[in-house]
């Protein structure tokens, strides 16, 4: 007998609706899955067989054919397990369904439903198709519940799923969704499974948030960071080890304004697709990603069998912080150019391509040269001639060109730390940044970093004296045409921080300071 249920898989960060057709026919017992299913789905056969038997049901000794439609789309992942099992049970008349259902979830051999990455996107895809109800693993109830216009039925195991689709009502109250009943089911021996409910470890791990007040001195770098975050400008911090580059970067999460709800949904979908979780609520914090410099190309860009999002996508709408910039692989850095330009990343694999959002703000840090650079006033760089140039050249010209603000961070001598008045904390700075961002969105629909050409000039509203100063700065600082645009963008943000209608001389001068380093080698003491 033929049965048909709906489910979904994940490609990139998007859900794809899949119709699971199961034909249970007389003949030699067999179980085959067709419809561009990859290796992980072939393994689904074994999980489904075990789950059905261990749920007290019979795996029919018939010829079972599972077809996954549409047939031209490669399907991967374990999200279809439950739908396949239910299809077999429907097809062998061990279960009945009341109308059309969608089911998502991986099965354990014991029959429990497990969380899979990207539930949010998959449920959203089903909702867009007008599908009214979906069965999800109990763990993912909150995540699936973020989607409107679809009834979510969280269940703990296969038996509960069958009960739900028969009656259309939750079999049990959801109050106890965790796997209380697992202890007795003998399914505990499953070391591959991460502890239920525990936080999944990510590349960066949860870093303790640092407040700006914890950082002493470095007024110039603080100011540059404020300007960069306020206008969405790419920022490069250059300084010897111990100057506080990394510490400063770690204050970024405390300075970023929260996402609005629709952006937060995208961000949460990305986190879900990336396997973070479990996701219990809409997270409105802006992403802050700080991958280590040993990261692979696929880790940065995204990839793998499920075309999982990489760091550039996981930093979408937030900040991507690259510490020790020249130490990153050259191909990894070159891969940043496309997203920095158009806010998207395209991943192309055999017969598949997916474009993921990647509109992140780049913040990077580097030493001026391999030896760590000049220290204090009297000790110059100890590198051999040419070495610092080669080091800096690891960051290619096109990438440097896309960095708006450059700031040098000298090492702060311990003696001067004592006398410093306490620094401003994150909260007031974050409030200024949020205000200035709102201002920009109202004025031009985007941050200043997105301005260019005539829109930029209009936004700046330069007078005659200001135009003259731009020419002087361009000349004196050796700015290219692109460099002048970056100067103007930064100046616009500086003016916004003062709530100035137009850009004044002071704003241009200060922006010039952040551009002055752009063309200069980094390890030099001044002549």
């Amino acid at each position: 007998m033929l049965a048909s249920v709906l489910s979904a898989t994940l490609q990139g960060i998007d859900g794809r609706v899949v119709r699971v057709e199961v034909d249970v026919a007389p003949g030699l017992p067999g179980f085959s899955v067709v419809g561009l299913a990859d290796a992980s789905l072939q393994e689904a056969r074994e999980r489904v067989r075990g789950a059905i038997r261990n749920s007290g049901l019979v795996f029919p000794p018939r010829r079972i054919t599972v077809n996954l439609a549409p047939a031209d789309q490669r399907k991967t992942g374990a999200s279809l397990d439950t739908a396949i099992a239910v299809g077999i049970l429907l097809g062998s008349e061990q279960a009945r369904a009341d109308g059309a259902w969608a089911l998502i979830g991986e099965l354990s051999l014991g029959g429990e439903l497990r969380r899979v990455p990207g539930i949010l996107s998959m449920v959203a895809a089903l909702a867009r198709r007008g599908i009214g109800r979906v069965v999800v693993p109990a763990e993912s109830a909150a995540e699936a519940g973020l989607v409107d216009r679809i009834a979510v039925h969280p269940v703990a195991d296969l038996a509960a799923a069958l009960a739900v689709i028969r009656s259309g009502r939750a079999a049990r109250p959801r109050s106890n969704p965790a796997r209380v009943d697992l202890a007795g089911s003998g399914a505990a021996a499953d070391p591959g499974q991460p502890p239920a409910g525990g936080p999944a470890t990510t590349a960066t791990g949860p870093e303790p948030e640092v407040d700006l007040a914890d950082l002493r001195g470095q007024a110039a770098a603080r100011r540059a960071l404020e300007v960069a975050l306020a206008g969405g400008h790419a920022l490069l911090l250059v300084g010897p080890p111990g100057s506080g580059k990394t510490l400063l970067a770690r204050t970024i999460p405390s300075l970023l304004p929260p996402l609005d709800p629709s952006d937060a949904l995208t961000a949460t979908a990305i986190r879900s697709a990336a396997g973070e979780g479990p996701i219990v609520e809409l997270d409105r914090r802006r992403p802050y990603r700080a991958p280590h410099h040993t990261i692979s190309y696929a880790g940065m860009v995204g990839g793998g069998p499920m075309l999982a999002p990489g760091e550039v996508t996981r930093a979408h709408q937030g900040v991507l912080f690259l510490d020790e910039l020249p130490e990153f692989g050259r191909d990894v850095l070159e891969a940043l150019r496309q997203p920095l330009e158009d806010g998207r990343i395209s991943i192309v694999r055999v017969a598949r391509a997916v474009t993921l959002p990647a509109r992140f703000q780049l913040v990077a840090a580097m030493n001026p040269c391999p030896c760590g650079g000049p220290v204090g006033e009297e000790v110059a760089c100890r590198c051999r001639p040419g070495v610092p140039e080669r080091y800096a050249a690891r960051v290619s010209g096109p990438l440097r060109d896309r960095i708006d603000l450059w700031v040098e961070m000298p090492r702060v001598p311990p003696a001067s730390l004592v006398g410093l008045t306490p620094a401003e904390a994150s909260a007031p700075v974050a409030a200024r940044i949020a205000g200035v961002r709102r201002l920009q969105i109202e004025r031009q629909g985007g941050l200043n970093s997105t301005l260019g050409g005539s829109r930029l000039r209009r936004a700046c509203g330069l007078g005659a004296r200001e135009r003259e100063r731009v020419i002087v700065l361009a000349d004196g600082l050796d700015l290219s045409a692109r460099g002048v645009e970056r100067l103007l963008r930064a100046a616009r943000t500086i003016a916004d921080l003062e709530a100035a209608e137009t850009v004044h001389l002071d704003h241009l001068d200060e922006a010039g300071r952040f551009r002055a380093l752009g063309g200069r080698p980094l390890n030099q003491l001044a002549v």
């Binding site: 603080r222 000298p410 001068d509 002055a516 002549v527």
Partner: protein, 453 residues
């Protein structure tokens, strides 16, 4: 004599004059006096010499040897163009002194290079014309007389900027370590500034550190400065000084190299150019040099060339002065001490000289025009600039220090620093700022004139 010449590309010229004595025979390299006709013939020979010196591995010693054998650069090129000639050339080249390499291979390499240059002569000449570079051969009347008298003068000098800059009435080389202290840079700047105001051309090597400070101060004083490169003009090194190089040209100074435009800077090219630095100057002043600093090579060349040599003594605890002190100790009576600016001027025999006030015909004030004193420069600034410059008088500073010293908000400090930098009154590196240009000399007096807010 220090062992400076022994390992350099000019090895034999360093001490054992006997080996290359032949090429220095008066009948050997044609001297300028001998070329009577400066017409088309001369121009062809000029080009041929330039082409010869574009060959990798062909240095002055080889050049003069070939010239002695064949009479003219053109004849050598003609020879190189044919297979028969090549064998003959290899004969001449076979006896090249060559410490590090198989002589036969090197000779073949040079012969190949010569053949290549002979084939590509037109292209090379066109490229030179397009690049805006000029060159001087030793036969040209404009060739600097100070260099002509060297034991092995550079056969060809590639020049950007006016040729006259190389033959200033007086020229002094100010050299020193790349790893200079702030004090060393200030000393170099003060010396260069004072001498430039007396109309002395300042020669140095365009390196970072002392060299850069000397060039910079001369440019700011609107004086003439000559930078001798350790690379070809198209491979300017260090890249950090590209802007300084342009400003040197803009103030009618010159960049000089004896290497062809596409020569890369290598370990060997710098000691070699040092003899040109000292050779272009009447006197060489070493401001700071750690032991084994390249600046000491320049100083040793100066002594070798019979020029005056000065060293700025430093504390015996200062690493950056160890080389200067060792040098002074090694050559008592030959190397003189810089005891002060006025004393230096006296020792150089420039004591009676008054800053000339001749216009240079291009409308800009000449180097010798009186420059405003630091106090006057300070007084000409706006209030914020004066406050930040005043804060810099106490020594180099970070933005944090400047904010504290001046009491200005950080945004103002940052913008003001840009203005000071554009005026050439401050420079920045590694997040630290220091005074430059007309404010370098400002000391306690300048301090007093600045009302602290």
């Amino acid at each position: 004599m220090l062992g400076v010449g022994a390992g350099g590309p000019l090895g034999p010229s360093g001490g054992t004059g006997s080996r290359d004595g032949r090429s220095l025979d008066p009948a050997g390299p044609p001297r300028p006096g001998q070329s009577s006709d400066l017409g088309a013939d001369h121009e062809l020979e000029r080009q041929a010499a330039m082409l010869l010196m574009s060959v990798e591995g062909l240095g002055p010693v080889t050049f003069y040897r070939l010239l002695a054998a064949r009479g003219s650069a053109r004849a050598i090129l003609e020879l190189a163009a044919s297979e028969v000639g090549r064998r003959e050339l290899l004969g001449h080249l076979g006896s090249l002194p060559d410490p590090g390499q198989d002589p036969g291979r090197r000779a073949a390499h040079v012969a190949d290079g010569l053949a290549g240059v002979a084939r590509a002569a037109a292209a090379i000449t066109d490229r030179m014309a397009a690049s805006g570079l000029d060159w001087l051969t030793i036969e040209d009347p404009g060739y600097p007389a100070r260099l002509r008298v060297l034991e092995v003068p550079p056969p060809v000098l590639f020049i950007r900027g006016p040729i006259a800059a190389l033959s200033a009435e007086s020229a002094v080389a100010v050299v020193g370590t790349r790893r200079a202290t702030e004090g060393g840079r200030r000393t170099a700047a003060r010396i260069a500034d004072a001498l430039a105001r007396l109309g002395v051309a300042i020669v140095s090597g365009l390196a970072v550190g002392i060299d850069g400070a000397a060039h910079e101060a001369t440019v700011v004083a609107n004086g003439t400065t000559v930078a001798v490169l350790g690379s070809g003009h198209e491979r300017l090194f260090p890249r950090a000084h590209e802007r300084l190089a342009r400003r040197i040209i803009a103030t009618r100074g010159a960049l000089v190299s004896e290497l062809p435009p596409d020569a890369d800077p290598t370990r060997g090219t710098f000691p070699r150019r040092n003899r040109v630095i000292s050779g272009l100057a009447d006197a060489t002043i070493v401001v700071e040099a750690a032991s084994r600093s390249g600046a000491l090579i320049t100083a040793a060349w100066a002594l070798e060339q019979g020029r005056e040599c000065f060293a700025v003594p430093g504390s015996i605890d200062a690493q950056a002065s160890a080389g200067c002190l060792a040098f002074l100790r090694e050559y008592p009576g030959q190397v003189r001490i810089v005891a002060g600016i006025a004393e230096l001027i006296e020792d150089l025999g420039l004591a009676g000289r008054r800053p000339a006030t001749t216009e240079r015909g291009d409308g800009r004030p000449s180097a010798q025009a009186p420059q405003p004193a630091p106090a006057a420069v300070l007084a000409s600034l706006g209030p914020a600039e004066r406050a930040v410059a005043g804060a810099l008088l106490a020594g180099s500073a970070t933005v944090d220090d400047l904010g504290r010293r001046s009491g200005l908000p950080v945004a103002t400090v940052l913008g003001t620093l840009t203005l000071l930098e554009l005026r050439g009154l401050a420079t920045a590196a590694g997040g630290r700022y220091r005074l430059a240009g007309g404010l370098v000399g400002a000391g306690a007096a300048g301090m007093a004139s600045v009302a602290r807010p």
